[in-house]
């Protein structure tokens, strides 16, 4: 039985580890400036935790086999522990875990401790059951007022977020169901939700942040590759949660300007 325990535990360990190392399923292609740091730290954590994982499982299987009861086996050792060993492995794991944590803290800080740079592309993201809407402030650089009583999701567009068209600042606001941003320029997001909590998740950008009713959460990221990237909702928001998705289109600055100008023109 000891041998079976060893074989099964080792097989589980090696097969599981193989799929991680072969990267059969791995993080999606990275497309933001923060992604490299996150992915690198993911790989570091993966390596260190992988070593601990394999070592612990291999030892478990090995001990089960080596110390199985069998005729002629030596008597069990009568030991109650070893304080020195307890101290050593306590200190070692503490260094490993806390050290790992400190290594990644600068990435978190650069992501969340500072505000967006001046000149970032401003986009207000609004989540509602079950769609994302994106608003651009227009040439005046100001978002117009919205009013809860004006919200009409069935009408879509500006009405879906309750834009108050009587506010002068809202005249040039552009509301879109697809998110366009220029490449290599920071994007400042203002995340809102009307009804329940949603979570704005763009796997390729390594970006995730809940949108919470009653809060306007300011975040930022910088896309570094052009292309279409799927946007999902990562917080359970109701029966249509699985189909609450959108599209992020990262384009060149010229294309972005052209797109925005065309939308402005449509409004007039």
């Amino acid at each position: 039985m000891g041998l079976v325990v060893l074989v099964v535990i080792w097989l589980i360990t090696f097969i599981s580890t193989y799929f991680f190392i072969a990267k059969t399923w791995w993080l999606p292609t990275a497309a933001s400036s923060a992604a490299a740091g996150i992915d690198h730290h993911f790989a570091t954590t993966f390596l260190l935790m992988g070593i601990v994982f394999v070592a612990a499982q291999v030892l478990l299987g090995f001990f089960a086999w080596k110390y199985r009861e069998r005729p002629g086996a030596p008597p069990a050792r009568y030991v109650h522990g070893n304080n020195m060993m307890e101290i050593v492995w306590t200190v070692l794991t503490a260094i490993l875990f806390i050290g790992l944590n400190l290594m990644s803290s600068s990435i978190w800080a650069s992501e969340r401790f500072r505000a967006a740079e001046p000149g970032a592309t401003q986009v207000e993201v609004t989540g509602m059951q079950f769609a994302w809407y994106f608003r651009y402030p227009g040439p005046d650089g100001k978002f117009g007022a919205t009013k809860p009583e004006l919200i009409d999701p069935s009408a879509g567009g500006e009405s879906a977020i309750g834009l108050d068209t009587s506010d002068p600042a809202s005249k040039d606001d552009v509301v879109s169901g697809t998110m366009y941003v220029p490449v290599n320029r920071e994007v400042e997001l203002i995340l809102r939700a009307h009804d329940v909590i949603h979570s704005f998740f763009i796997p390729n950008m390594r970006f995730k942040q809940d949108a919470v009713p009653g809060l306007a959460i300011h975040m930022h990221f910088t896309p570094i590759a052009t292309g279409d990237f799927e946007v999902t909702c990562a917080e359970l928001c109701g029966l249509g949660h699985y189909k609450m998705h959108g599209m992020l289109k990262v384009v060149s600055q010229e294309e972005f300007d052209k797109w925005l100008a065309a939308r402005e023109a449509e409004k007039q």
């Binding site: 994982f53 990644s104 329940v196 970006f207």
Partner: protein, 592 residues
């Protein structure tokens, strides 16, 4: 520790004697007093156990439906019909709630804790038998109310076991958020009342009812685990209870604790100023310690079993006790790691992250000590030991993904993905369930006087061990690839389509694993009737439950409370006539 300073000893002894007198209530005769409204901790333990068994069968059935829907979203099931996306979320909610509360919290503590804590410390019963009976019946009522949510207008809620408002607070947020959600909250509130009464009872019993010679540091690690779990329960369930009442008020009395002004389908909902994050703080202040409430008893038990079946003293008894105490303490300081993406201050994420990584240290100490116990032993692979070894393996596998999620930086891609589902199922779900299985196989002979069938137990072990890895390891891969949790279908997003084969594999693994549980259920009931007769101490273990008759008499020790001379893990003592020395053996083992 037990005697305290000088004169404390006499007082202690008198109190123990008085306690025994007080609990020497005569064995009840009628069926109702004996089996239904029983005051006997052993019967109450069995009641909790069978409540949890019922709950786990329901919860497992719900998960089966979930896995079927994920792969064949358009299938029509006999009797049940179609599963709609909202039905899927109902299944998610009820599976999680039933498993966490009525299985993982109920069986290890309410079931085995109730049955064996008094016996292992040499008491005749729990400190408060009537309170004990009430705890069980309130918990049973809570379960009935929970199931009732399926049968009211709109059905059971779809807000997940975490019940985040506003989704859980506004009737128009979705189907099931009407009366079903009210029943869900009422059930949890009732459960909290039961858990609080039970926690008080466990703490008092451990502190006050230990027999002569049973100092705290001579208690089996199972007792330590139940004791620490009870302290966590006492501090956590009160918070959840209050949080639930506030949610009920938001839903039905027009208050705005959790709900700001919201607009559902163009309709303004009359709330203002509430904070959805408040619920998350209160919920996870309970919710994270709850993880340890579920797994500490399994840790205690596996420490016990690894020692018994390796025929060796536990490696580092004191380190094990301190590790459990620090897990309990740190467990209350880490709830924010569930909220890194919630909009909570990014600075506090920093603090929560450090505390969470720190909790990995005592967890690692426990793993080292389990390995240290196996090292140099003479391991007997009886079914309880197989499940204990399985527990250690699952604890390592589920624990190792913790440091990923504990770092906010890595939580950005992983939060609310299948990676989390895989992580907590391995460590909180399956590892704890392995504790329940190990406890069942280990204590069944004492509870029912018969042995369980060993061949069936082995089949059950191997299929479940390999099966659960096949279910939950691939979830980590899917999560890394960005598959969000609680999605009823993977058809709406292009990047999820390539994960469908992986999910199909998970579903088929779930079929096999769930089928394997029928072996267990069959073995359980068949062995009660037809199992081989068990001796008083079939595993040659040292703790007090093995010194008394099988099954134990009404007052546990037949009027002769045991006297304890030794620690709980004296195996392979050099010079002793057998390879184990009972805790009651007066030939005291030299202090070490």
């Amino acid at each position: 520790m037990a005697g305290g300073a000088g004169g404390g000893k006499t007082i202690m002894a008198t109190r123990e004697f008085a306690a025994h007198e007080a609990h020497a209530h005569a064995a009840p005769q009628g069926f109702i007093r004996k089996w239904v409204f029983s005051l006997d901790h052993k019967v109450i333990g069995l009641q909790y156990y069978f409540l949890a068994l019922t709950a786990v069968l329901v919860g497992m059935f719900l998960s089966l439906l979930m896995r079927i829907h994920l792969i064949w979203p358009n299938i029509t099931l006999p009797l049940l019909g179609d599963i709609k996306p909202e039905t899927y979320l109902t299944l998610v909610t009820m599976h999680g709630t039933i498993m966490v509360f009525f299985v993982l919290t109920t069986a290890p503590q309410g079931g085995f804790g109730n049955y064996f804590l008094p016996i292992q410390i040499g008491a005749a019963d729990m400190a408060f038998p009537v309170l004990n009976m009430l705890s069980f019946w309130v918990t049973a009522l809570a379960f009935v109310v929970m199931l009732g949510a399926f049968f009211v207008t709109g059905g059971a809620p779809l807000h997940g076991w975490t019940g985040y408002p506003p989704l859980s607070a506004v009737q128009s947020a979705g189907p099931g958020e009407g009366p079903g959600a009210d029943l869900w909250i009422i059930s949890i509130a009732l459960f909290c009342i039961g858990a609080l009464m039970s926690a008080l009872n466990f703490i008092t019993t451990t502190l006050d009812m230990r027999t002569k010679g049973m100092s705290m540091m001579r208690m089996p690690l199972t007792c330590w685990a139940w004791f620490i779990t009870a302290i966590l329960g006492l501090l956590a369930f009160g918070v959840l209870f209050s949080a639930g009442i506030l949610l009920l008020l938001d839903r039905n009395a027009g208050t705005s604790f959790y709900v700001p002004l919201t607009v559902f389908s163009g309709q303004v909902v009359a709330h203002k100023g509430g904070s959805p994050l408040l619920w998350q703080h209160l919920f996870w202040f309970f919710g994270h310690p709850e993880v340890y409430i579920a797994i500490l008893p399994a840790m205690g038990l596996c420490s016990q079993l690894v020692s018994v079946f390796s025929r060796k003293p536990i490696f580092g008894y004191k380190a094990m006790v301190y590790a459990m105490l620090s897990i309990g303490l740190l467990g209350f300081m880490v709830w924010g790691h569930h909220m890194f993406m919630s909009g909570m201050s990014p600075y506090s994420a920093f603090a929560f992250s450090i505390m969470t990584m720190a909790i990995g240290v005592p967890s690692a100490i426990k793993t080292f000590n389990w390995l240290g116990t196996l090292w140099g032993g003479r391991i007997r692979f009886a079914s309880p030991m197989l499940f204990a070894i399985g527990f250690v393996s699952l604890f390592v596998s589920g624990g190792i993904s913790g440091p990923f999620l504990a770092q906010p930086t890595l939580d950005i891609p992983l939060h609310d993905t299948a990676f989390v589902t895989g992580h907590f199922h391995l460590i909180m779900g399956v590892a704890s369930i392995f504790g329940i299985f190990a406890a069942t196989y280990y204590w069944f002979p004492k509870m029912f006087g018969r042995m369980m069938n060993e061949s069936l137990a082995r089949w059950h072990f191997w299929l479940t061990f390999v099966g659960t890895y096949c279910i939950f390891m691939p979830m980590h891969y899917a999560g890394m690839a960005g598959q969000p949790r609680r999605y009823s279908q993977f058809t709406e997003l292009h990047y999820l389509e390539k994960l469908i084969p992986l999910n199909t594999f998970i579903t088929f693994s779930a079929f096999v694993t769930i089928a394997a549980q029928l072996i267990f259920v069959f073995n359980l009931f068949w062995s009660m009737k037809a199992g081989k007769k068990a001796s008083d101490n079939p595993w040659e273990a040292t703790t007090l439950e093995w010194t008394t008759a099988t099954p134990p008499p009404h007052d546990n020790f037949g009027g002769h409370p045991p006297i304890v001379y030794n620690g709980p893990y004296e195996y392979g003592v050099p010079g002793a006539p057998q390879d184990f020395v009972m805790q009651t053996d007066p030939r005291t083992v030299a202090a070490h």
